[in-house]
Amino acid sequence: MTDAPVTPVLQARRLVKRYGHVTALDGADFDLLPGEVLAVIGDNGAGKSSLIKALTGALQPDSGEILLDGEPVRFRDPLHAREHGIETVYQDLAVAASLDIASNMFLGREVRRPGLLGKVFRLLDHKRMREESARHMAELKIGLRSLTQPVESLSGGQRQGVAVARAVAWARHVVVMDEPTAALGVKESGQVLDMIRRVRERGLPVILISHNMPHVFEIADRIHIQRLGRRVGVIKPGDHEMAEVVAIMTGALQLDQGTGSTVAGRS
């Protein structure tokens, strides 16, 4: 099923991560193909966030292997992954509460003024950063009454929007989004899905974690199903019913990876 003649952009083999006696990843495999939108679904606690954290340098797996474009890599930290063009929206909203939207959009990649002011005096180009942020936020159509207020005073959805806009704006290789629409309104969610499509059009693959099955079926090229810390299957939305996929996810059905057909599972 997952076989393709192309080299996966991002791959993981048998990742294991334990917290005390809780095993978050229990030998998880993972493949992301070029240009695809790969949805990762699974129950709460299935290890989806742990998986993508391991893939993006935010946590170090206890064992297992990660390959980028077929080459083994070990991301020391999120910055390292970022330097490889991988941008991530983490589930726990990586925004700095007391900074404003523009500062958050450009955090770690600030733009300095041209000329001496920037080179020698390292003066930030606030105006440009604010304008570009406004543009990116407008693309997402998140209604914001002020761009200069600290993000801590934004609504949960607005804050989420900032993180999504940032990832999309900067990605050069892979975009990873951990439940990006969880806090978003209908309109804003639609915008995020549009954005994901546009990212795909740019040729970049996207990893999307979501509990929203209609969204997943609407946008995903393939669906990675995570259960109890493992990948229990990868399917194409067209080949399966939504109800069937949910059943696999919860363990009610089992997927035979050879044939792609499902058999009754042990719950």
Binding site: P78, R82, L93, V95, E110, L124, L144, R145, Q149
Partner: protein, 334 residues
């Protein structure tokens, strides 16, 4: 869409239409009001308060603690705290005084070495804080004892006098409209402006605030939090080294007993200036105001002839009042 509810660390927008609103909502408003109230009170109650000479004096008196408080602000903005800053300064002061007084080393080199030693202790604090990691409170508490002991061992408890001119140059004065101001006071003000610039107008400043908001968020955003933290502590150490030079030039000696209460005093200045002890929120110019508040109280009460134990009593009450004014002024704006 780009209206102007200002954020604590937001940069000044020159020429923005909402300058008045921006001023009102800045978190330094509270300390400023407190300071002005105190000045008004003392001006009404003593003749000697409202003179250029007296203001120059107050600045001289707060410049050492004020400079230490710049470093303290940096560290507190990262959600850390530094209990060792006074001790580090005292050590730096002794190092430069001893090296220069023995004549073994040219004065300017002695100064440089003294400042370097302070920066090195700052770096050590930063490395320890980020290593395991360890809590800054306890690292700097331990370091306080270590550096204190080193100061006394190295100096053999001797005050070092007869220092060559470069070490006391910052104590010299120049006149501004008839009022004598020391070069040290000027340097202190310049340092405050420099760090206001660095924190408000450079990427480094943004990162410091982000780190203080949440080091996990900063890490996930791709900031090298370890390197940044060590950098902040090292920079603070460097600033303590400058404070050491200011101290030496002010007192004219290298004094192993110096700085013993300056850790809490510098924290007081930072907090009075409206910076949050939980990190990520505050302005270094607020710290300047905080330091001045303490200095003005002490000076004014002294001028009014209040006996020292009552000065302590009143200072305690006023510290609480000042921060009350600060909090109330913020609430009104919210």
């Amino acid at each position: 869409m780009t209206s102007a509810l200002s954020t604590p660390p937001a940069p000044a927008r020159t020429g923005a239409p909402s300058a008045a609103r921006r001023l009102l909502t800045t978190p330094t408003m509270g300390p400023l009001v407190a300071l002005l109230l105190a000045c008004a009170f003392f001006s009404l109650n003593t003749d000697q308060f409202l003179t250029g000479g007296n203001f120059s004096l107050v600045i001289q008196q707060v410049m050492v603690v004020g400079t230490l408080a710049i470093g303290q602000t940096l560290i507190i903005l990262t959600a850390g705290i530094d209990l060792a800053n006074g001790a580090i300064m005292a050590f730096g002061g002794i190092v430069m005084a001893k090296l220069a007084a023995d004549g073994a080393v040219p004065p300017l080199l002695a100064i440089a070495l003294g400042i370097l030693v302070c920066a090195a202790f700052g770096a050590l604090n930063g490395l320890l804080v980020t290593s395991i990691p360890l809590p800054p409170f306890i690292v700097t508490l331990g370091m306080l004892n270590v550096v204190f002991a080193l100061t006394h061992i190295y100096s053999a408890d001797q005050t070092v006098a007869n220092l060559p001119a470069p070490l006391t140059a910052l104590g010299e004065t120049f006149a501004i409209g008839g009022t004598l101001v020391t070069y040290g006071s000027l340097l202190t003000i310049l340092l405050f402006l420099l760090f206001a610039y660095l924190l408000g107008q450079t990427a480094w400043g943004r990162h410091v605030y982000a780190l203080g908001n949440s080091s996990e968020v900063a890490r996930l955003t791709g900031i090298r939090t370890r390197r940044l933290t060590v950098g902040v502590y090292t920079t603070a150490g460097l600033v303590y080294g400058i404070a050491a030079l200011l101290l030496v030039s002010r007192t004219g000696v290298g004094d192993p007993q110096a700085g013993q209460t300056d850790n809490l005093d510098s924290i007081t200045a930072v907090v009075l200036g409206g910076t949050s002890l939980f990190g990520g929120r505050g302005l270094v110019l607020g710290t300047l105001l905080g330091a001045l508040i303490v200095g003005v109280f002490r000076n004014g009460l002294q001028l009014m002839g209040v006996s020292s134990i009552y000065q302590t009593l009143i200072t305690g009450v006023l510290v609480i009042l000042a921060v009350t004014v600060d909090q109330l002024s913020r609430r009104r704006i919210r």
